[in-house]
Assembly symmetry: D2
Homo-oligomer: 218 residues x 4
């Protein structure tokens, strides 16, 4: 039942450099059919660094895996003592709510669909991880602060602007290549070109989205 060796190397490496934790995504070529298959996989990946904090990274639209996040969490703390939570990048908020509800005190349920973060906060999300935060982080911090102080009107205003921007970008082919270009243009984060099959963003596309950004967040 061995895994590819490089998964163990990577996990061991994360422990060696004293990473704060690792997030493990489901395999998607041969897909687990049950929560038990997925839990067993997570335990095996982390077995070489058993005290490393580990998160289950749930992203069904990418993996095509049809297993509820909540079902993966069932009894996982006995199987993986260092289990620390879930990054939930899905739009099924019944499943997310049930993850939050089942969550142990030392776990974190982090939400990953930036376009609807406010919805997840209402359901008790403990935090957020997402790619657009690389250039829109300050606006999302404002959104979260507004939410914390009970100012839903303000939180909603920021979320709606962000939705308008992403919706606009999607019609132009928003992907990781576009996202990396936006990081450069808006945050000065130059992380190199995307890896194939993602292609670099056409300058006209980036320019158009940047203008939209400045019109929404002047």
């Amino acid at each position: 039942m061995s895994l590819p060796l490089f998964l163990h190397f990577q996990t061991r490496h994360a422990a060696d450099i004293r990473a704060d934790g690792i997030a493990i995504i489901s395999p998607s070529f041969f897909k687990p059919r049950t929560a038990e298959m997925l839990r067993t996989y997570l335990r095996e990946v982390i077995s070489v660094a058993p005290t490393m904090p580990v998160y289950y990274y749930h992203i069904p639209s990418v993996t095509g895996v049809d297993v509820l996040g909540r079902d993966v969490l069932e009894g996982i703390e006995e199987l993986i003592p260092s289990f620390s939570g879930v990054k939930f990048s899905g739009s099924d908020l019944m499943d997310f709510g049930q993850c939050v509800s089942y969550s142990q005190p030392h776990w974190s349920c982090l939400y990953g669909v930036d376009e609807q973060l406010l919805a997840a906060l209402a359901l008790g999300a403990h935090g957020a991880v997402g790619s657009t935060y690389n250039y829109m982080g300050s606006h999302f911090n404002e959104l979260m602060a507004a939410f914390e102080r009970g100012d839903l009107v303000q939180a909603r205003t920021i979320q709606f602007k962000m939705q308008e921007l992403i919706s606009y970008a999607k019609k132009l082919g928003f992907d990781l290549g576009v996202n990396k270009q936006l990081m450069i243009e808006l945050s000065g984060l130059s992380l190199g070109p995307p890896r194939l099959p993602v292609m670099p963003c056409a300058p006209s596309v980036a320019l158009s989205i940047v203008q939209k950004y400045h019109s929404l967040f002047p």
Copy 2:
């Protein structure tokens, strides 16, 4: 470009009995490929009762129609002067947020996925329409009241219980037949058996869900 006659009869009948409004779902056999096709269809259905308030009923998981709700709303008030809003039964809350954001003052954006109503309230839902409200309405009224007064902890507690109930029912084959039986058992609403292809609920299934309900909402 005529529609089946009975759609016009039904619409006309709704006007005759002075219904408060009608909700129109997308055709799903030949599916509209664009928002324009769908808008043109809505206008044609309502053409025999042009002052009747009309809602677009967005439920992509059932219709299989891949058109954003927000795109349907684009310019619809010029096409259908009596347009009154959307019943949004989908889990894409970026799309729902954009419907709310684009909504005219006299429209209503009603949310239809009961299991995640709280998320939609955070995004500004103006109301809710759903099948479980036939027997859980009082709990949802409490949820909405808690939300209104800013008590998210209480709202979340109710939503989580409701998620646990529906999640439990889903593993037993939750469908309209089960739902009708729950209406009888929990609210005394005896509306007759479901229509085929939905089958009546097995008594053991109904009993099991009713017990779960009473354990969650004692």
Copy 3:
């Protein structure tokens, strides 16, 4: 467990005009979850005309119903004595093959995806029903004749040309509106405009496809 009355009216009408048979599609709003639900529905539709030949029309890409055709056929002859076969409009040819293999001598397994008819013939299809046959019927008759006499090279040549035409049309937005226009242009079958939400075909699109047709079938 009553059905909408108009389904019974339509079935009764078909019997009155001495139609050769009727084909029944699965309901798709409330979707059957099991083959048994779907069989029970078919029996109820046909109950007002119990000697009328009846076909199950399997088209999962349109209905979104996730039930195998073969499972619907299980034991159906005892439930519906006038059952006469299946129109199979799906691309799962294991399921189609199993329908053919299970088929009773007086049934017909008709195939409905014109673009891959030759594949279904190889698996034993008893006939074909499809929309493009309204203007390409003579070519498909040649394809079937070539297949019958064992000339797969010729059959394949015709199928490939037809695939090229449909593939070309799909990139231009092939739908029922386009199909109706092609019926007019290529066969002189003027059946009126499509019903909403399908829109009439833009003349430039029809012209372009007609030219492609003539280049492929000079």
Copy 4:
């Protein structure tokens, strides 16, 4: 635009051991949106061993990539001179037929859905690659021989038996773990347990399928 290094290592290694060729699957985490993105990826993978025969391995149900195989082939011989064909593991036989039709004389269009191989042979498949051939190869050789000599009745009989076996296995949870156990039981090919997340096959499941096999192929 660099790829992960280990892809280049693997390709280089294949060249060093004088492999007959390599098959490249689409990336599926960040999915290519266009055929051009996918072609560019294939070229980059093979760039370290530019004379190695290379096949595009099309398996959309696993990768979730929505790009037609035929579109990937467009102009690929100029981009990748050693391009040698496609392994097509999909059920869209219009797309497969168009791959065959476009195929250059020195390419091979190999079919990978064992349950419907006969359909692909009718459309001109040049060969077959599949996992069940590890224990049912002799029956498929008979099927192909029957097809070659024009005996479709015999070819169909074998294909139907195989469909019945796989259909039976699917209802018991057919996956790679089951498949490996069948290799041991039916061919004596002991290749070790499956890798996670796939779990070893329960003995009762294997036994049941083996019995079915012997009843179908006595």
